[in-house]
């Protein structure tokens, strides 16, 4: 059988496949830049997926669905924020709790929505750019969320690099005691970052259920949240590299799906586990250089802050 993979379609579907992880990863990067490790990305994503799906079905508008998903993710993340910032619980354990709770809550909420088709998200018809041969269908013919996700990445990059707010956020992440001594409200900054991360994860989840799949099934994120966490490490906490990592990962996902469809003589199971294996491989390569990994990670990552001293 001849191998027929259309490169134009491949790149086009790559952008769609990457968007959920890109959104979740860029949100988590901001959270980690503020010194908080939220392992609940998977939970927030799946709750976002069902919130977005349910509201989009009820209102008939995907746009309202996406807003609801962002809200849902942010509300759930505030639970994590309250526990870790005010009650000073262990961030790793609380993040895990968020994921376990989110998975349960989402399948509870999604009871009546199995097997329903969501309203379709329209693709943009960009007048001139979309007509360019090859590049047009590749890059300029997606739905709005793809471009919003790219805008969020650019926005995060600019915010962290050029604004005072970004500087404060990074200061809180590097040394919460110093930031506190300078008069910044560490807890408030962190809560804002956690909320942003939750909203992004929710958007990512909704993109899965409304565009990428588009359907609601229990546990449909299938580890996407964890891969987003891995991409943040891979990206060494830089916005540009998050984009690179997410698109690289999306490329692998799409490629393996294409290979499956093309009937290549590689076992299906091996192909379907390849995204996870490659993520692990990339993590190993990135973290094997101890100096670089230690340099880039926010210094206060994962530590609780209590203004007692």
């Amino acid at each position: 059988m001849e191998l027929s993979i259309n490169p134009i379609l491949l790149v086009a579907s790559l952008m769609v496949a990457s968007t959920p992880i890109l959104l979740a990863a860029i949100g988590e990067m901001v959270v980690e830049k503020a010194g908080v490790l939220n392992l609940g990305v998977e939970g927030m994503m799946i709750v976002g997926a069902i919130c977005g799906f349910a509201i989009a079905v009820e209102t008939g508008s995907p746009a309202v669905g996406f807003v609801a998903a962002a809200l849902g993710g942010a509300i759930l993340s505030m639970l994590f924020g309250f526990l870790t910032q005010y009650l000073l619980s262990n961030q790793v354990a609380t993040g895990l709790a968020l994921t376990l709770f989110g998975l349960g809550l989402s399948s509870l909420m999604g009871q009546g929505y199995v097997g329903i088709k969501p309203p379709s998200t329209p693709k943009l018809d960009i007048p001139i750019l979309g007509d360019i041969p090859v590049l047009g269908p590749m890059i300029f013919s997606h739905d709005l969320m793809v471009y919003i996700s790219l805008a969020i990445v650019a926005g995060v990059w600019a915010f962290l690099k050029y604004t005072r707010g970004g500087l404060i956020l990074r200061a809180v992440g590097e040394s919460h005691d110093a930031a506190h001594a300078l008069g910044y409200n560490v807890i408030l900054v962190r809560l804002a970052a956690i909320g942003f991360g939750g909203a992004c994860a929710g958007l990512g989840g909704a993109y899965l259920s409304l565009v990428r799949v588009p359907q609601w099934t229990e546990g449909m994120t299938a580890g996407a949240g964890w891969i987003a966490l891995a991409i943040v490490v891979f990206a060494s906490w830089r916005a540009g590299r998050v984009l690179l990592g997410a698109y690289l990962f999306g490329g692998i996902t799409v490629l393996q799906l294409n290979l499956q469809a093309a009937g290549v003589a590689i076992p299906v199971e091996l192909l379907s586990m390849s995204p996870y294996l490659i993520t692990i491989l990339v993590l190993v390569i990135i973290s094997s250089d101890r100096n670089r990994a230690a340099l880039n990670a926010p210094a206060s990552l994962g530590r609780s802050f209590h203004a007692s001293s």
């Binding site: 790793v92 376990l100 709770f101 399948s107 076992p267 586990m273 692990i280 993590l283």
Partner: protein, 361 residues
């Protein structure tokens, strides 16, 4: 104005009280959740927590209690050792699957030979080895390449699930199964079956192993230098290094042991209650065990009790599903809530709540 004041040492009283308070709070919050689902909260809570032990059909449910608690306790004991030392193995689900595959594969390799004295012990070893091997991957990557063990162990769960699917469709599929996915039923194979030791009790070798693990972990933590090193590393990694604890060896020990125990749990499950390797063999014990470990305060005896309680929510949840039509997912959300409340109330162990303004010093 409410403030938190750090206690000089964690409160013993609250350390014991927190899980109980968390359970009560979860029942209240769960009741509210059930009310939202149009179920009578009092009836729902009674169906989940009371009826399986004291109700009309208790004779059936009591046996199920040990069946469910066995794997949870076995896995949670292993996880708790790592959690104590700050080593986060959250991929027990994958190790559980690999243990089941290894154990079942050894058993099936001998089919239809009858030699229980040889085959069953070999299966136990293979199961533990399978889980150990799967946990060694994050272990070695962590010690060699400094790779985050949380992410690697979790990602390997998805890999293990793919292998499980491949095994039940391919290599381990029952040749006499008319093409249906899934292996031969090990319960019908005398030499490999892990059946109840006393009829109606739910007690099988996996439960026995869980009890042994509890005792073993208790002695390890309170009497053995390794347990001391684990606790020391958790309290202060720097102090532990000065005291001569080799962090890499500790990481490999904790991950390896928790993997082996999770693998054992998987093997006992596949040879007993589950009976066969199938695509949907794993039901999330590896993740629920994380809740069990925390609810049991990472203490062996606590884990024993927490495992029983969590098994009760599983069984009660099934009962409520049958009699009240409570969705299965409600129990999962309920269990997640329990961990939330536990972590929230834990603040009282380490901090004192003060009202009023702080006096200027």
């Amino acid at each position: 104005m409410i403030r938190l004041e750090k206690r000089p040492t964690p409160s013993q009283t609250w350390a014991y009280l927190t899980p109980l308070v968390a359970v009560v709070a979860t029942m209240i919050a769960g009741g509210i959740l059930f009310a939202f689902l149009d179920k009578d909260p009092v009836v729902a809570i009674r169906t989940i927590f009371w009826d399986p032990i004291f109700g009309e059909f208790a004779f059936y449910y009591r046996g199920q209690l040990l069946v469910k608690a066995g794997p949870l306790i076995l896995i949670a004991i292993g996880l708790s050792l790592g959690f104590k030392a700050g080593i986060w193995n959250i991929g027990a689900e994958g190790q559980y699957i690999m243990g089941a595959i290894f154990g079942a594969a050894v058993g099936l390799a001998f089919y239809p030979m009858e030699a229980r004295w040889l085959i069953f012990p070999l299966m136990i070893l293979a199961g533990a080895f399978g889980g150990f091997l799967w946990a060694m991957i994050p272990g070695i990557l962590k010690t060699r390449f400094n790779t985050n063990e949380i992410l690697v162990s979790l990602l390997l769960v998805y890999v293990a699930e793919s292998i499980l699917a491949s095994m039940s469709l391919g290599l381990l599929r029952n040749p006499e199964g008319a093409g249906f996915p899934g292996s031969r039923n090990l319960r019908q194979y005398e030499s490999a079956a892990n059946n109840e030791l006393i009829a109606g009790w739910g007690m099988h070798w996996g439960v026995v192993a869980a009890f042994i693990a509890v005792i073993f972990a208790y002695i390890l933590l309170s009497r053995h230098i390794m347990g001391f090193n684990i606790r020391l590393t958790g309290e202060s990694p720097r102090a532990a290094r000065f005291a001569g604890v080799n962090p890499n060896r500790l990481i490999l020990f904790c991950l390896g042991l928790s993997g082996a125990l999770a693998g054992l749990a998987g093997m006992f499950e596949v040879a007993g209650p589950a009976g066969q390797i199938s695509i949907d063999f794993n039901v999330g014990y590896g993740f629920t065990a994380i809740i069990v470990a925390f609810l049991g305060r990472l203490h062996p005896i606590g884990i024993l009790l927490a495992g029983m309680l969590m098994a009760l929510t599983y069984i009660g949840g099934e009962a409520a599903q049958a009699s009240l039509g409570l969705p299965a997912a409600a129990i999962q959300a309920f269990q997640g809530m329990l961990l939330f409340f536990l972590l929230a109330f834990d603040v009282l162990t380490n901090f004192r709540v003060r009202f009023g303004r702080e006096a200027a010093v």
